[in-house]
Amino acid sequence: MMASSSRPRLTSALRGVSRTLNGGQRQPLEQHFQSLQLNSSAVRGRRCLSTESTESNANGDRLSITAAKELEIKSLIKKLTPKYRLAQHARPVPISPSYFSRTPAFNDRYLVLEKLSRAYVNLPVIPAADTERIAWKTLSDLRQSFGEPVKATDYVKCLAIVKRLHQIHPELKPDAVKEALLDFQRDVQAFLNVATPIPIDKFGRALGVGKRKSSSARAFVVEGEGQVLINGKTLADYFGRVHDRESAVWALHATDRIDKYNVWARVEGGGTTGQAEALTLAIAKALLAHEPALKPALRRAGVVTRDPRRVERKKHGRVKARKGPTWVKR
């Protein structure tokens, strides 16, 4: 409340007061109200017409829209009585037009955005592809964060404005816009996570790590003539099944690089299939360090994405994860 009270534009008007005042005398009255603002910590039974909850005001002070100031009617009357007559039933008038709607928080922001987009419609924009990638809140995120039932159509319209505003040239983007957009960004920005590139060390090795089921593999890939050593054994020694051998070197096979690289790998955990497919991923990643241009080919070969499936846990009341117990008559 303290932070919000410092803002001059958030001064409020009282219905009773506004009746008694003419337009020219409005400013001094607002200043009066400013001075009359009480410290929120001192106030117990206060009346506040903010559309925000008090907690969010205290925390997120960057854009809190307060409908009207807190008023201590009695003291106000006492002060003002000599000069003005103040009605006993005077109540603050909400400045937000959405105060009586079901979704004031969203509506307020929507209005702010509309206003901003009208105001800055002439600023130069950059193509959407060149903008900084930002993960915007999804509809459910938005509903969760505002605690309001936002309509999907409204959300779509609002997000269109958000994206339009985001396209404004970053050097000319006003602070107000930046501030208004902050509320629509997700809390965790996945696009900030940039994978660290795999280095190629002085021996020409690239280390790739791959996992599958409960196996994990580390593969050192160097330029060579197609030799593979896994845990000190050859491919044929380590994997009895031909299928496993093929899947282990699938990344090299799919890109026709099997005679161009040597692989030295360590695998642990899991069974043979898991180890073979962990190796696939590890070799693919290490290969990407040598030749980044192979990424589309490797993705088509299906060796870039980690398969996240694990053993499904057993549930109580079941024999296995899903298997039901045998039906027994009594």
């Binding site: 030799q227 593979v228 491919l235 020694d237 031909v242």
Partner: protein, 484 residues
């Protein structure tokens, strides 16, 4: 619009069925199901049902219609069982060896092995066919194994590897100097150790050596053939007459020509048949007709072959599955002690030869191959082979070579085994190089067994999948894996 013929089996229905059967009886709804539809595409349904109708008539007491049947599939089971295979039939099927495939394409550029072919270095990385005669000899000596892929190709052919040339040259050198090559072939699983022996035997046959081959050491030591103590031996030795008879016959068939030209040097009064000096050895071998007298005949044959005062061809004595011959056998002495394999007389001959105690008059070779798939652990043998290999590396001044030593806390070592393997040479068979792999794959492709372009990429792929060119694995990855 249905086709007049059965589409699935392409059988044209006979003329009588479709029309005459329904018209013979008045058409009634109750019998409609029994009628064959005139345009049925199902051959089974188109069959006339007269026989079944008769059966359900008045003759037997069972009524028609639904019957209670206990044990739903009982009758089918009994009907489908058929004749069970006779004793030994399954094993014969499992162990049969097919040496040719008439469906395979004959390879035009395939040439037969000559006497010098396996010893010449320019034949390295070439596939050469075994001549008909040598095929018969090798078959008689049981050099072919059921696990090898002979049955895929038009005629048996072998890849000449660097190791082959090396081995053939060592054999030839030994024979030229009238010395004995004592060598153990060892290496990874399915790397081609038995094939190495086969090539050595082929080389020996082509050069008119006498070849004695014990195809499986385990046949001698796992107590699956008869044995009896040899009287007058101390410590007691045991003969295996049935096996020896089989061996004599195999030797006879495999070396017929050479034995016919080799003559006995001394008389053999202990034999039932009179064998004067200067009789062909073939005749001596023919004396063994029954298991009872087989061992003395074999002894006589052996003494003739190793007689130093007569003209003898070089001899190749080979054995596969060495580990079985280097441990206590499963036989028991009368005191119920385990008999050591080296106390079995036939194996004693071999181990003495391998250990250097016997000298062949015209030189020759004693070869043994280890096995990785069916082999008991023999720590002494493993250590001895590792030591011989390391000693060779030390001799060649390979950096970091070190001869492994006995584990002082281990009691499972066998001194007799160590004595035998103290001075043998070791030939390690590993993967082939890419040139050899390519030659082999080209042969496969020319035979129609590999339907892919053989280029650098394909060769490297199979070579890698086979663990750096292990031949058996290459076969598995290329020929034996079904691609659908």
């Amino acid at each position: 619009m249905s086709a007049p013929n059965c589409l699935r089996c392409l059988v044209r229905p006979t003329a009588g069925i479709p029309i005459s059967a329904p018209l013979a009886a008045p058409i009634a709804l109750a019998h409609a199901h029994a009628r064959a539809a005139p345009f049925s595409t199902t051959a089974a349904n188109a069959r006339p049902r007269k026989e079944t109708e008769k059966k359900t008539g008045s003759k037997d007491h069972s009524r028609g219609g639904k019957k209670l049947q206990l044990g739903k599939f009982k009758k089918d089971h009994i009907a489908s069982k058929g004749r069970s295979p006779l004793p030994g039939e399954r094993k014969a099927y499992r162990k049969r060896i097919t040496l040719s495939n008439d469906n395979a394409i004959p390879v035009p550029w395939l040439t037969d092995l000559g006497p010098e072919a396996l010893a010449s270095a320019e034949n390295t990385a070439r596939v050469l066919a075994l001549p008909e005669e040598v095929q018969d000899q090798l078959r008689a000596g049981e050099a072919f194994k059921p696990t090898q892929c002979w049955g895929m190709f038009r005629k048996p052919a072998v890849l000449v590897r660097k190791e082959t040339v090396d081995l053939a040259n060592r054999m030839q050198d030994a024979a030229d100097k009238k010395q004995m090559l004592r060598l153990v072939v060892t290496g990874d699983k399915v790397a081609g150790k038995s094939m190495m022996l086969l090539q050595a035997m082929a080389h020996a046959h082509l050069n008119n050596w006498i070849v004695i081959h014990l195809p499986e050491a385990q046949e001698l030591t796992t107590a699956c053939t008869e044995y009896a103590p040899i009287p007058g031996t101390d410590p007691v030795q045991y003969m295996q007459p049935v096996y020896v008879l089989k061996l004599i016959q195999a030797i006879k068939r495999a070396n017929e020509k050479v034995l016919a030209k080799t003559y006995t040097a001394q008389a053999h009064p202990e034999l039932p048949q009179n064998i004067p000096p200067n009789t062909p050895l073939l005749k001596l071998a023919n004396v063994a007709k029954e298991a009872d007298g087989a061992w003395p005949v074999f002894q006589a044959l052996w003494s003739e072959l190793t007689a130093h005062n007569a003209a003898r061809p070089p001899i190749l004595f080979s054995l596969d599955g060495l580990a079985h011959a280097m441990k206590p056998s499963d036989y028991r002495s009368p005191a119920f002690d385990l008999i050591h394999s080296h106390d079995l007389a036939l194996l004693k001959l071999f181990t003495d030869a391998l250990g250097g105690a016997v000298k062949f008059p015209a030189g020759g070779a004693v070869l043994a191959a280890t096995s990785r798939s069916n082999a008991p652990r023999v720590p002494s043998m493993e250590l001895a082979l590792a030591q011989r290999e390391a000693e060779e590396r030390v001799r060649q001044k390979v950096e970091g070579a070190e001869v492994p030593q006995k584990d002082p806390f281990f009691r499972g070592y066998d001194e007799r085994v160590e004595a035998v393997l103290r001075s043998v040479q070791v030939l390690r068979v590993g993967g082939v190089d890419k040139l050899e792999a390519r030659a082999l794959m080209e042969y496969w492709a020319a035979s129609g067994m590999l339907r892919a372009t053989v280029d650098e990429r394909a060769v490297t792929e199979k070579w890698t999948l086979a663990g750096s060119g292990v031949l058996g694995e290459m076969e598995r990855a290329t020929l034996l894996t079904m691609r659908v």
